[in-house]
Symmetry: C2
Subunit: 322 residues, 2 copies
């Protein structure tokens, strides 16, 4: 749920005169995304998404995010395409914020993903990893172990408010992850936030990926781990082996995982679960009451951390011998 | 800001199969309206608005609201047209709530209305009053004096929390309004909530009226009073005589006000200001913290009540002799 900034029709009209999109016909704030303000805009030439980047997004990162979308779209990964202004730029300023217009992608994110969806996501993730190989820009992952530590230092003292014993549990996980975190896995541009609400489908067919605002350079297998966490657990918190198998098979049909990646998968899953637990915990403890963003429960990801801790090998996620 | 109920693409797909709108392509919750959940839906045949009616709307009133839109649209008042299902109905059920699909209206509501906008609103309001004359259904105004009393009994005791002395001030207003409220003015179907966010423009041209969910039968001049309150005050709470003059001239260019209506206008404005103050006060005192609806300040309308109390005649709103 996110419209942090309202804009007037007068300022939007002026902003759009820098583009070649025809007359402004309507715009409505949409309840999607949590970091930025998003609007669906109709003009004489069609439907677009207008994004106002709010303070959580670093302005210096925007050329990476927008350039990546353009790069991927040109290589056949269906994602929104940033619209160029008459002066060639893909970014402007609106209501005092950096702002961009991107093409509107039809499709719906699956509220209850099936194994068929999971397979498609695996295929799309691997395709994105390959398509990103020759992207010229790079961006370190701000939410890798060092970033997690910063988040943790901001909520460690109050972690036990959420669940008794959580502080000690997370501290032990940090020790294990720091000791074993792999540094030499195949790496490149990853999406880093490929949750169901960032993947559109028309029926069972994947119609596009959106929201590249956490994209960065990191291990490909870490992106796979995030998808396993995001797509393959049920509402009762149980891991669904059928979905895990489908997601991994889809991925490997395009880009087979190396033995080192397979071996690292349980630790990567555990790290990725910690990462999402930490951002949720941080928002839970620090988010303003009454904000228009629904707070997400950190305990969902504590449960996933516990699941991954007891995994013996990646076979338990459904990985098949290649 | 309103998306109270999320829906799955599966249930929406099933719901839309009762309609003749082509394939479902996308849907996004929109941050407009405060009573219901609204989505912009793209199908093979175009853009639509899907509304899920939440608990504040009486299901028994929906045939009035939807029938009125259809009635007005057929008589040339640009407003959304309810889409009929294959079985002829204009209402279905989705996620356990009554739901309807209406056509998408291009246009933008003016964040900072000008006198030109005010004139157009006056014209449209009068046109709507005339077009509604032969509408077969009727609905009493649930938010007339009796309805205000109910609201007031639910917040009277705590009114002084908002401003010291407010309880006594409002009690005195109630006495004056009950003593003088006119009962024999020309009446018919009124919009009853024609605020700027319910009126769309393309440039200075009015492109449509939306949100008929407070529409009812009451005095036409009461609707004029509500528009004066909603359109003709500045952010510093001053009444803008130029805008008042424009709105009233626009109205009278289509439907001249009778001498009795003109005479009643100051009291009607005062009553309408009390009505919106009361709903805001009620929500202010009773609305849940952390809800996704922005609370509106009741004191804005207390100031308007005070303004109207010292008005000598409707000439001070800018009414011109006909």
């Amino acid at each position: 749920m996110a419209v942090y900034t309202d804009i007037t029709e007068v300022e939007l009209g002026a902003f759009l005169r820098e583009y070649d999109l025809g007359e402004l016909l309507s715009y409505k704030g949409i309840a999607e995304g949590t970091e930025n303000s998003n609007f669906i805009v109709h003009t004489g030439s069609g439907s677009y998404i207008l994004t106002l980047y709010e303070k959580r997004v670093e302005k210096a990162d925007l050329p990476f995010f927008l350039g990546l979308m353009e790069h991927l779209a040109k290589r056949g990964v269906t994602c929104p395409l940033p619209v160029h202004r008459r002066d060639g730029a893909v970014m402007g300023e609106l209501a005092g914020r950096p702002a961009a217009v991107i093409t509107f992608l039809e499709g719906m994110w699956p509220r209850r993903p099936t194994a068929a969806h999971c397979r498609e996501v695996g295929v799309a993730l691997a395709s994105m990893h390959i398509a990103g190989a020759d992207f010229a820009l790079s961006r370190p992952n701000a939410l890798s172990i060092d970033g997690w530590k910063k988040l943790w230092s901001g909520c460690r003292e109050r972690a036990d408010e959420v669940e008794q014993g959580l502080e000690a549990e997370v501290a032990a996980d940090f020790a294990a992850l720091e000791a074993g975190w792999p540094s030499d896995l195949p790496a490149g541009v990853i999406h880093a936030d490929l949750f169901p609400d960032n993947v559109f489908f028309l029926g069972d067919r994947l119609s596009g990926l959106i929201d590249f605002y956490f994209a960065c350079n990191d291990a490909f297998a870490y992106d796979v781990a995030t998808c396993l966490n995001a797509w393959c657990f049920e509402r009762d918190h149980a891991f669904n082996l059928t979905k895990g198998t489908a997601l991994l098979a889809g991925y490997q049909s395009v880009r087979p995982l190396s033995p080192a990646e397979v071996e690292a998968l349980p630790l990567l899953c555990r790290g990725s679960a910690l990462r999402f637990m930490l951002t949720r915990l941080y928002d839970w403890l620090h988010g303003p009451d009454g904000a228009m963003v629904k707070k997400r429960d950190p305990l969902e990801y504590v449960r996933k951390m516990r699941f991954h801790r007891q995994i013996g090998s990646a076979a338990e996620y459904g990985i098949q011998p290649q």
